[in-house]
């Protein structure tokens, strides 16, 4: 069957192929429209597209501004800093001092490390919780769990960060005897708190929007309830779940306050999850307030902003591509 790309980005498996092309109403839903109504409609449409373009323009302009502040590094050296400084050895970030060092590799590795830890913790928890509420929980319980998790999404990240800094980091150190009280793991756990509700909510929506028909067909063929949930509903909702993971990743990689407070901020180049870590976003947050406006250090911080923006855009792009392929494969199989 030819699968036209769905216009509704978030209606995962909702466009049921069986009903496609049929008109559910035998007579027109709306009476023939007058010229005035037509004009109002057109105006409304224009307004909505204008709003959409404003949003895109804002994002684009933010990127232009950030890139413009970093750009002078590309053609001249400012305060002894060039566009290559962030790649020069040693692998150290010590921007203030006799011989400033601007290598951003420890920051990139640190950012990816914390994000990965957060995703590894958050994904199984959030997905299992979503699957439970969507497939197994009795309706009364479901109505209670979902808002409760969504309250978690409303906790300001500074509160999560502060909690990790003051309470959780000590618990972890006492329990596991870490040499460093604040480390990538403690920051990753804090980040997971922020990411879990996001992944949970979006993937739960994806799971519940899988047509009931699928479940009924599976059960009718003799599959048990867990088999149906894991082998039928989960794959059918996979594009939506994948979108949830991409969103969660984006949130985790850009999150600033939690890592600023809970990671220890030492710019160590290491793959161990038990040492302190300094992220790109935390570096911008803690240093931008100090730097001389227009100086080399200032420009490098904006360059970091560009790098962060490019990393997230690249991941989103890969995510979107993969998601499209996933959708095509699913609708092809159906």
């Amino acid at each position: 069957m030819e699968s036209a790309p769905s216009r509704h980005a978030d209606s995962t498996a909702a466009d049921d192929p069986a009903t496609e092309g049929q008109t559910p109403f035998s007579r027109p839903l709306f009476p023939p429209q007058s010229a005035v109504r037509n004009r109002i409609d057109r105006l409304g449409e224009l307004f909505i597209s204008a709003v959409a373009f404003v949003v895109i323009a804002i994002i684009f302009l933010i990127f232009i501004y950030v890139a413009r502040e970093a750009a002078p590094l590309a053609w001249r050296t400012i305060d002894g800093i060039s566009i290559w400084s962030p790649l020069q050895t040693p692998y150290t970030w010590q921007p203030v001092g006799g011989v400033p060092k601007f290598n951003i590799l420890p920051l990139i590795v640190g950012t990816l490390k914390v994000t990965l830890i957060a995703m590894l913790l958050a994904t199984p928890l959030a997905l299992a919780a979503a699957l439970y509420t969507a497939e197994f929980a009795p309706p009364s319980l479901r109505e209670w769990i979902k808002p409760a998790v969504e309250v978690l999404a409303g906790i300001p990240s500074v509160v999560i960060g502060f909690f990790v800094l003051i309470v959780l980091a000590s618990w972890l150190q006492d329990a596991f005897g870490f040499q460093f009280r604040l480390n990538a793991l403690s920051a990753g756990i804090g980040l997971a708190f922020a990411v879990i509700p996001l992944i949970y909510t979006v993937s739960e929506d994806a799971l519940t929007s899988v047509p009931k028909l699928y479940r009924e067909a599976s059960l009718a063929l003799g599959a048990s309830k867990p088999q149906t949930a894991v082998r039928v509903v989960l794959p059918a909702a996979s594009p939506g779940i994948f979108a949830a993971l991409v969103l969660g990743f984006g949130r985790a990689i850009g999150e600033t306050m939690i890592v600023l407070l809970a990671s220890g901020n030492a710019s160590m180049l290491s793959l161990s999850p038990f040492v302190p870590v300094r992220t790109l976003s935390a570096t911008i947050a803690s240093e931008l307030g100090e730097v001389v406006f227009g100086g080399g250090h200032y420009r490098v911080l904006f360059l970091i902003g560009v790098v962060l923006f490019l990393i997230t855009s690249l991941l989103n792009w890969i995510g979107a591509r993969y998601n499209r392929r996933l959708r095509q494969r699913l609708s092809g199989a159906a």
Binding site: V96, S170, R181, A266, S286, V292
Partner: protein
Amino acid sequence: MKDHPNATIQVTGGGSGTGIAALVNGTTQICQSSRPMKDEEKASVKQQRKADVSEIPVAVDALAVYLNKQNRVDHMTMEQVRRIFQGEITNWKDVGGPNANIVLYGRENNSGTYVFFKEHVLANGDFAEKYQPLGGTAAVINAVVKDVNGIGYGGIGYATDLKAISIAKDAASEPVAPTMENALSNKYPLSRFLYWYTASAPAGTIKDLVDWVLGPQGQNTVKDVGFYPLKGDAQTQ
């Protein structure tokens, strides 16, 4: 403030560099700093504001090296402190403590205290890779209070619930405790002035403020908040 009902003071934090940057940009009339302004900074004030900076020392501070109360080390030489923060000494047993790894805490690089420490203790060398910069002195204190093996630094005015160790200039000299007398007599190796800066000679309300801080009332306040008055107890009552 009662004497000057028409004056408003708006205070913004962030560290010495933040204040100096604000003075350069002209977004503040007066800024405080825990380190002397660099020559380049004075030059950029002159360039941007068309006026000479005036530097007003307002108080004396001792930069303390903090340890956890449970740590049995109570003095070190400047050289030992430097080697610890540069990562050359990594175990407490090398400075007379227990056999445990040293965990380094300190300020972020937007802090005058960071720059002062880097210049005066590390002789402008780099901090160790494992050095953990935190957002403020309160965060450093909190970290060292919670970490038995921690070491940090900051103004003496903040040191509560932890130990501010005595420091010797070199191996041959006696360790000196961070007290007011030692800071004022310059015996304590890590004493420093705290400054106010204005973009030109203070005038009007700013001059009233400067006169106040240098007068007995202001200097008493300096003492109340944990720093040392410029002339010791002689000036305050």
